[in-house]
Symmetry: C2
Subunit: 141 residues, 2 copies
Amino acid sequence: MDLATGESAMQSVALARVRYDATTGLVPVIVQEAKTREVLMMAYANREALKRTLATGQAWFFSRSRQEYWRKGATSGNTLNVLSIWVDCDADSLIYWVEAVGPACHTGERSCFYRTLVSDSMAEQADKLSGEVSIERSIEK
Amino acid sequence: MDLATGESAMQSVALARVRYDATTGLVPVIVQEAKTREVLMMAYANREALKRTLATGQAWFFSRSRQEYWRKGATSGNTLNVLSIWVDCDADSLIYWVEAVGPACHTGERSCFYRTLVSDSMAEQADKLSGEVSIERSIEK
């Protein structure tokens, strides 16, 4: 433990492995349910948010709009227990493997990704207009 | 079909639903194997890259470092067939659900996320130093 930073040796090494964005200091974090592999949300961390995640086992992020740290579920109670953290080949994006306590999305949906980009109704409308069929529609049937 | 842009009505509506970053015009894209739900990689698209993805059913991105469009697998042959595209609650990140032709990572690994941030060897080394145990180690055992 480094008394000046409060970091363990392992934490320091882990935190230094990540390539944070040179301008913003952020790294995108994919949040994935460890059991089902469902992607629940995407948010951003910086070194300090990641440090808090490693230290507490709860998912911490940094809000770009509010410019502040936030622990998922601090208000709602819908916390994310982080079981493991994956880093990609060039170390500039992360996955938090989590166990979600309640819905991850503020809408009450389990995942923030509850809509497809090209919805059926849009596809139907466009089909009428142009006779074309989307990739999504042809797959989902 | 709008002859000026080459876009179908549905494509135009879909492309307009996304909140591209105000500064960069980019949106992060999580690439997930549709069958296994494994996260394979993370990259960025802009409106044009997304348009090409919708039009071709192959995963297109925009490279921030090279500032150019790229189709995954154009060189390697390891293309990604996009089956569906998901958008999150605030429409500023996407998931491509894909069928991967070959490994997605340039290292030859199936996924770019093939390493945990706190590896066992690091944890062992740090344990010796400080006697602490990481969240990853305690879970993975």
